[in-house]
């Protein structure tokens, strides 16, 4: 691996900030959906400088030929980059391969943000069951689960951060504060119906992502508790619950015909609207990217598209003991690349909102 600083053809318009002070970063797996979005964000980030953006299959091409909304950064082969050139590596490679890459980077002295699923589950056996792959368990044991608003101070010193899944982010933002407040009864079994745009499935062409299949359709998939993001959420709820109780969820994801966005409709029994609202507001007070909407205003995907925001709406179900929390995010931003940059900012001591669209004012 050799340095490829020259591989970046185009540079952001100078912001007047001295080059020297910028944080050198690298993106592994830059041609995927999350990777390209991350390159787009980082190329406009006033304090970061992309030293390399790799792609195994598309090395040599410019990223905007693959994803027209991304900048014209030349992709290099991962064998041709040196992690020692950067301070932080962001991993957007497929799960199953991120484990080894993370270990290599950590050994080279880099800090790592893993956007894949390889470091999200702390239990080794659970990880193997869910992802059917191996990883460096000692490194995994260090990983901070980077749902930024729910992390403590750990990000500041973390060597490796596991960036949460998109569905997990939308779901956990709604549920974790309830668990934390002790308002989630054992066996409450929250019901989560979630809907994701097609970008959630990545760039790979498939029968399912074909325009003529995805348009004019809604379809469920990976129902029951089979989706890989379920154990992430359940692990977090257990951690947040002061009693450490286990919480299962019903999770039914659906593919809907839009590009970007996730809506999670979360129905919880045994709580009051006031309790839910209080728990959410306490947790997200002062957060730049999470907004609890006033009563009567519905959370819609368009309210967060193109931003790192999450909107949460709370609706009581008249005549019952149930409350519905609707949570919306842009799956590529708060659900992936945006949250990765948010974590990067926290890891490096920058203001949390630096270079991220949608901060509340």
């Amino acid at each position: 691996m050799t340095s490829t600083i020259e591989s970046v053809r185009s540079r952001p318009v100078s912001s007047g900030i001295p080059e020297r002070s910028r944080i050198p970063v690298g993106v592994l797996g830059a041609s995927g959906t999350s990777g390209a979005e991350l390159v787009r964000l980082l190329s406009e980030h006033p304090q970061a400088e992309i030293r390399f953006a790799t792609s195994r299959g598309d090395a040599g091409r410019f990223l905007d030929e693959i994803e027209p909304s991304a900048p014209a950064v030349r992709l290099v082969h991962p064998d041709d980059v040196n992690p020692r050139d950067v301070e932080i590596v962001l991993l957007c490679v497929p799960h199953g391969t991120a484990g080894a890459a993370a270990a290599a980077c950590a050994n080279a002295g880099c800090r790592v943000i893993d956007v894949s699923g390889d470091h999200r589950l702390s239990d080794a056996a659970e990880h193997r069951r869910v992802y059917a792959s191996e990883r460096d368990e000692s490194l995994a044991a260090e990983a901070v689960y980077g749902l930024t608003e729910l992390c403590g101070e750990e990000l500041g010193t973390a060597r490796i951060v596991a960036n949460p899944g998109c569905y997990a982010t939308a779901t956990a933002l709604a549920l974790a504060p309830l668990a934390e407040a002790g308002k989630l009864a054992a066996g409450a079994l929250p019901v989560v119906d979630a809907m994701s745009g097609v970008s959630g499935a990545g760039r790979a062409a498939s029968a399912r992502s074909h325009y003529c299949s995805a348009s004019e359709d809604v379809r469920p998939y990976s129902g029951g508790r089979a989706h890989r993001h379920v154990p992430e959420v359940e692990q977090l709820l257990r951690r947040m619950d002061p009693a450490g109780a286990e919480h299962r969820i019903v999770f039914t994801p659906h593919l809907v015909p839009l590009n970007r966005g996730i809506l999670a409709s979360v129905t919880v029994r045994g709580v009051s609207e006031a309790d839910v609202r209080a728990a959410l507001q306490r947790r997200y007070d002062g957060c730049a990217f999470v907004r609890v909407l006033p009563a009567g205003r519905d959370a819609r995907i368009r309210g967060v598209t193109g931003t790192n925001r999450a909107h949460l709406a709370v609706t009581p179900v008249d005549g019952t003991d149930a409350v519905v929390v609707t949570s919306v995010i842009d799956n590529l931003l708060k659900g992936a690349a945006g949250q990765a940059v948010q974590n990067l900012n926290r890891m490096t001591g920058l203001p949390e909102t630096t270079g991220i669209p949608g901060a509340q004012q």
Copy 2:
């Protein structure tokens, strides 16, 4: 009101069936979304003959100028038609106005299929609460709730049929057989997350139905138990339950960016997959339009678009006592015009599938 047989400019290609044997029908409110779909179906129905199709606002225009997929039938003003010219009147006028129209038609000796909500709720006080309008309660007391597969022999002699709502149809097809089988515990509180295409909101132009608002968005609305279709479903569950128990549901509808189709994701606790599957199969065995999908096959909207079919899929939720039933229909067919024709066929002794797309073979 005078006869306007001449108002129908174009006639279906002759099917060789003698004109004399066709059932004369009329459609009031033909320029709305359901009305236009109904005219389209009836114009190709081999045993029905449209004698009039009315519109208060678009009288004089041809229907295909308003809805290009509909035939070129000339719309007439409702004051210019005589219900005595027809055997059955189909009401697609807005709720609140269908009550009076139904009474006038019934007094003229017609049978009525009311596609609006005006005769769905049998309790007068409940009707007033939900629809904030009056109706002829003695006629309402006669109304048969026309969810065809769940009706008995009543349709054969019914003077008035209340065609169910689109969301109610999708939801009730999933839940009513469980209630009927005694498998729906009191307080089970099924959670229904439903998604509808934009045609469900009708043809009226609004900020919400604007292309630039509805595309690239998903938004909930009328959450809690506030949607008008909720009492319909709860009334039916009570009737189907052998113990007559009351059943409430959590119902959260969402607007999704497609033209046609509804998906209802119904989560029920306290039942086994086998029980659910058995209850559904027993109820829908031999039904031409309802199919319980084999295990492992997901119910998707595209599987029913353009047909009168409903597909039901049953998914157990591993490690819990919950089962998810996904129910999909085309909101304009099984959810409105298709079911209306299905009811018309049953009312007149025709084979149930006559002139309706999507019958199973």
Copy 3:
């Protein structure tokens, strides 16, 4: 190849027509976009009976698993069918392979409708240049170019019919009557900007057909005179021109974000609106599927979606010698499967509209 009559699991609802009188047909390449649409149409055709529907890659599966709008016909391997079981074979296999299949079928005594491009161009050298493949030139010499409204009586006795391309159909319907009427000056160089839905590119998953690429985009491709449908159109214009003059066209196709439909915007200089309108009306007078719209009414894709219709609108360009003809079709019906059935009807002496949606009344 052995008979596989039993391969069709489900049969159309009996129409009362004796089975014996139905025309036995087979579809080769039934799992592609055009093939599946053809099976859908033929399965509801009152006078045709599908004896086999083949797929090399999906043999053994039911067609509705691949294309949910299609019927549940079991696909068989092409090696397992016998063309002698049928009267007409419809070829929906890729161009380059249809030539050999057509020859085999013809040798077995079948008549052939080739939906691929393999028999559209009569000149052997031109065919090789455009399609870079070989075919049986003696069979090709017999092929009738099946743009139904522009064919004479030849279809009745044709052994092989070349079903036109989708863009070619939309374009030629607008231009051929002008050439026929001698109103297309040499060198007039009509400018054709055409837009097609994504189904025009077939079912193969690709970067281009990915929902997240095709939605929210319009893109030109194969511009200049590079598209394969250009020589088809130019060949037809030469044949229709009483003077046999050569006519070139500028043809720029665009991919637009919809499922089905083609719009061709055809600008012609040196003609008057009256001349154009007269030529079109003369040619299409009495045609069940082609409608010349009255002045002031725009041709829109939604006016023909789901039907075999073509709508043509004529707009003069004020202050110039140019006229714009807009031509719209459903690319899978009039542009492929619908026209194939229209040709089948003409080949077998059935009424032209039998079993085809959208005939004018």
Copy 4:
């Protein structure tokens, strides 16, 4: 009119630039599609400060309730603002009303950028014919036609700038350099087929902009030379032509199912690819927002969505004397709000790209 600086609830995150140095601006008609986009851009512009954003119908509401992608700026009634509070007023009110507003602002000493059509046509009679309304002709005589790349130094001192129409921008960027280079023959009659997303029609709900009408459709409208943007383009071509020759164009706009974006497909005869390419490159050399794509790369809308960029592709038509130039822009940015800010930057001596997404690096 009183100052309403306090009406802006939320302020951009401080950029460290002293408040004092920011240019105070006001937006009249901020709740429309262009107005909301302009507020979005200006609220993030490092050197501008929005002092008021008005709406006659929505005064008192926050803009993000109307357009979720816009910031939460409180709209005020136009009677409650004082143009003296600002240096530049941007007019996004409907044409026909901008004329009077411009005069009032100019009289109060403001400079004006009129995003409506009221000052685009210099000839008074032509203006009346096209827009059927009156304006202050002496002010109109001063107006600079603000197609930024084609303006000279006039913007620096202009009191009023007429921001071009969206279709006019896309079309003129392709054609004006040819006229300027003397390569557009008299009578060449370029053929422009253009396609616009639905936002081009504004926010007003109508039958045409209804999701269920616009989706799955393409439709032409205002064909011939009837569209209001035609005289703008023809006026500019005349001005750019060194011989001052008049040039007519065939212009056929189409509504396509996407939110944002315009593609203009411009076919010109009598020119060579090399001539066209040379004329475009000469004109746009060094321009931050206009890119002439290399041969073989198609101009697609997704390449410019969300940016102020224009992409131009040049395709020769083999065997003819025609060349096709494809021009794509985001209709709300380069076609409206983005170009308005570009003009504002030039008017005030700021770097042209300040605060505008998509500058080339």
